[in-house]
């Protein structure tokens, strides 16, 4: 996720991304795991939006 995209996020969304980044931190530099991290972020942001209606 680009810095520009991150700038438009709510506090809760930023917290969520931070949490995911922490979970994947041990795999920094691993291309496949970073791709999974991006999937995780997209999915969880969508879920958060759905929960908020």
């Amino acid at each position: 996720m680009t810095g520009e995209a991150k700038a438009g996020l709510t506090e809760r969304e930023r917290e969520l991304i931070q949490k995911v980044e922490k979970r994947f931190a041990r795999h920094e530099g691993d291309q496949l795991m970073m791709a999974l991290k991006e999937i995780s972020i997209r999915y969880l942001l969508r879920r958060l939006k759905d929960e908020d209606g």
Binding site: L32, A35, Y43
Partner: protein, 289 residues
């Protein structure tokens, strides 16, 4: 290594009070093993365990199977699903009944734990169906049971496991890393021991044993790989929690063997969500999430 093995053997010796499968279930499995038995014989044996019979009918009539008409007798259920499916359902249902919630133990959040188990099973199943690999139903059951070693550890080596979970959280470790450090073996090893003690089918036993390293599975590599990736997918989507807050690395050999790509996996999420909802029937009612 030798001291780890010694520690593992010592812990196994202390687990002698592990519950065995009830006689009624053993009798049912005997009927299933007998090539001359009929659907009626099996139905009669199933009636000896009323709660099990009710659970089987609830699952068979759930949205997961989606039969157009109600399956109202066990004889019909056996005829429709076949012996192998019924055998697997009995084993998984009974394992859940005997192990779920770790008999009130609070080492892990069991509701989240079983949600993770179900998510892993459904994810593995979704991949199996999409890629036309293995028996989708058996893969689901293997995923559901992949972490049963954690339940055994929490209930039968309680103090040690509380310490292990705390150690994992404090040090930012995966549970199996903390288990190796403190117990000399992982939940996968203890799960294998239980699977052997309860005579679970070999593919389930292998998936339980090798879900963190499927390349070690000589006979059921595909099933173990599907469960491994199912575990990763469940963690990626944060559905439930198996007891730690870290991501294990994907085994690249398993990933390549399944011909997966991140795009392909992401494209399966919608299908996964539909299946996950329907598969809730596999959990005991109080664990439905």
């Amino acid at each position: 290594m030798a001291s780890q093995k010694k520690r593992y053997n010592e812990l196994i010796r202390r687990m002698k009070d592990l519950p065995s499968l009830p006689e009624a279930v053993v009798a049912i499995l005997d009927v299933l093993e007998n090539p001359l038995s009929t659907a009626r014989d099996l139905s009669e044996a199933l009636h000896q365990d009323q709660s099990l019979a009710a659970r089987i009918l609830r699952i068979v009539n759930s949205a997961y199977y989606g039969f157009p008409r109600e399956v109202d007798t066990l004889t019909k259920a056996v005829t429709i699903l076949g012996y192998t499916s019924i055998r697997n359902l009995i084993l998984v249902t009974k394992t859940f009944d005997m192990l779920h919630r770790g008999a009130g133990d609070k080492t892990l959040d069991w509701k989240l734990f079983w949600k993770h188990a179900l998510a892993c099973g459904v994810a593995a199943q979704t991949i199996a169906i999409r890629l036309r690999l293995g028996s989708a139903e058996e893969v689901l059951l293997a995923g559901l049971l992949h972490d049963i070693g954690k339940v055994i550890l929490a209930t039968h080596l309680h103090a040690e496991y509380v310490e292990t979970v705390r150690h994992a959280r404090e040090q930012g470790l995966l549970l199996f890393e903390a288990e190796t450090e403190l117990l000399g073996a992982t939940h996968a090893d203890f799960g294998r021991w239980l699977a052997d003690a309860w005579n679970l089918p070999h593919n389930l036993a292998e998936a339980i044993t090798y879900h963190h390293d499927p390349t070690q599975s000589k006979t059921f590599f595909v099933c173990a790989s599907l469960v491994h990736v199912g575990d990763i997918m469940a963690r990626t989507l944060e559905l439930g929690n198996g007891g730690d807050d870290q991501m294990p690395a994907v085994n690249t050999q398993a990933w390549s063997a399944l011909h997966l790509t991140p795009d392909l996996l992401e494209g399966m999420i919608e299908e996964f969500e539909g299946r996950f909802e329907k598969a809730q029937a596999f959990l005991p009612e109080e664990e439905i999430c």
